[in-house]
Amino acid sequence: MGKSDATLQGKHESLLTMLQQAQRQFGCVPEDVMKKVAESLNISVGEVYGVATFYSFLSTRPLGRNVIRVCQSLPCYLKHNQTIIDRLVAELGIKPGETTPDGKFSLELTNCIGACDKAPAMLVNGDLHGDLTPAKIARILKSYKIG
């Protein structure tokens, strides 16, 4: 029992970690990676797919090099987050859920990011940007365009 537990312990813990690593490396969890992960851990592809599609920060479709996640929850909604989304849509030329053709930006809507005291807020590649106004958007985007 102890031994099989230990094996299981290593296996599953590494599954989510491996998928998070793939997400960082490829901007998504591609199908062939899921197959390889399943093989290496000796579990079904279905199980890997189940984990890959459960979490909102893992994506099975390719995301851009910079991922923008605008908070859509109530405290940000009360502070007019729609004006931020509208400005991002205008600046990037894409709708939420899409990636720019040059692969530089993906625009996503997300649930509460815990920055309600700085609403409206968004994450860009995990960095927090709060107290947003439409006027601030262009400058923020520019800082991620370099490189």
Binding site: E13, T17, V51, Y55, P75, N111, C112, G114, L128
Partner: protein, 404 residues
């Protein structure tokens, strides 16, 4: 009772990147004291303090520790739940970014009390920008020799509200889909990898060092009969001063909402996030405690310009999206509630829809597997109780506009 900075006493005082600034306060004085005590004595002190879980459920902290301590097994775990995903909550973020050292000291005390050599901090994906700060604090505590044989690991989440629920959180640490487990067994007997485990919220743990240093009888002077100590609140929405405030438990809601956050023209308050209560302005003198209303301390304020149905509809949208899908009362129930609320939102509600909302809400409360599904109908039930005319007006609109 005025604002009291007890849990937050080091926030803004110390440099969260430098352990020496923490030591200049009373940092790492509780841990050696606790280690000189037997685990049983530490647990007895926490039990006597009356400290209850600050994540929303309010389970007595000392009892949880005692159960894990007494559970047989040579390997036990401590988990710090830093996955605050409840809408409107950001107090743990504020704590983590300002005072990671107290948390680490508290985790080390908890590990001593239950007999754990490994501890995990499950950090929500949305807070990944705090990862380096946290790792740095652990490294400094380790290097200074405070951790002994204890390993503290930070596990980054991957974006799932339900993982703040303790059994889903453990599945996530195990690398699986974060789905809720059937209980019993409870974590103190069979938790992470089936081993005895305690899971405590960030804020709960933040209380521990001061209780050890000053004693249970000092701590339990604060608060009400069944709510001891202070509570850290996250206040947002239609207020002049959104932010994190700490009050002695039992303080009136008004002091927080109108006094500290400076709200005016308050119509209603959502207390405890998406699965929390929605109460009208007439209840603003309610004391904040486990006996009344508390949750995890998220308070979102809506002024008189806000539409009740819009708020409930958006709340349900969130819950339907974040249901883990394991049990049908929650998976199907939240979708069905959302569909009904959408009709009221569009002015297409019918009289019978109200009784369907009520029946479905009651069924979900009784049959859902975890707190998410059981509490998902709360915003519906509360608004039907306090703002029923807002629903009814959406029916009248339709009848007025339709020819039958």
């Amino acid at each position: 009772m005025p604002e009291k900075r007890f849990v937050l006493k080091n926030c803004g005082v110390i440099d969260p990147r430098r352990i020496d600034t923490y030591l200049e306060q009373d940092g790492f004085r509780a841990l050696p004291k606790a280690r000189q005590m037997t685990p049983e004595a530490v647990i007895a002190e926490i039990k006597a303090s009356g400290l209850r879980g600050r994540g929303g459920a309010g389970f007595p902290c000392g009892l949880k520790w005692e159960l894990a301590c007494k559970s047989p097994g040579d390997e036990k775990f401590v988990i710090c739940n830093a996955d605050e995903g409840e809408v409107g909550t950001f107090k743990d973020r504020y704590i983590l970014e300002n005072d990671p050292f107290t948390l680490i000291e508290a985790i080390a005390i908890a590990a001593h009390a239950v007999g754990a050599r490994t501890a995990y901090i499950y950090l929500r994906a949305e807070y990944s920008y705090l990862l380096d700060l946290l790792l740095n604090a652990i490294y400094q505590a380790e290097k200074a020799g405070f951790l002994g044989d204890l390993t503290i690991r930070v596990v980054p989440g991957a974006g799932a509200y339900v993982c703040g629920e303790e059994s889903a959180l453990m599945d996530s640490i195990e690398g699986k889909r974060g789905e809720v487990r059937y209980r019993p067994p409870f974590p103190p007997t069979q938790g992470l990898w089936h081993k005895p485990t305690i899971i405590n919220n960030v804020e709960t743990l933040m209380n521990i060092p001061q209780i050890i240093l000053n004693g249970a009888s000092w701590f339990n002077q604060m608060g009400t009969e069944r709510s001891k100590g202070t509570k850290v609140f996250s206040v947002s929405g239609d207020v002049a001063k959104p932010g994190v405030y700490e009050l002695v438990l039992g303080s009136p809601l008004r002091e927080l909402v109108e006094g500290l956050a400076q709200a005016t023209r308050v119509k209603m308050m959502q207390i405890g996030g998406a699965t929390g209560r929605i109460v009208p302005n007439t209840m603003i003198d309610t004391p904040l405690s486990y006996e009344t209303i508390l949750g995890a301390g998220a308070i979102t304020i809506f002024d008189e310009s806000r539409d009740v149905i819009d708020v409930v509809y958006r709340t349900m949208q969130f819950l339907a999206e974040e249901s883990c899908g394991k049990c049908s009362p929650c998976r199907e129930g939240t979708e069905a509630l959302l569909a009904l609320l959408e009709r009221f939102h569009n002015g297409e509600g019918e009289t019978r829809d109200i009784s369907v909302l009520e029946d479905l809400s009651n069924a979900m409360m009784l049959s859902a597997l975890c707190g998410l599904g059981q509490a998902a109908p709360v915003p519906v039930m509360d608004t039907l109780r306090y703002f029923r005319s807002d629903y009814e007006s959406r029916i009248k609109q339709k009848q007025g506009g339709m020819v039958r």
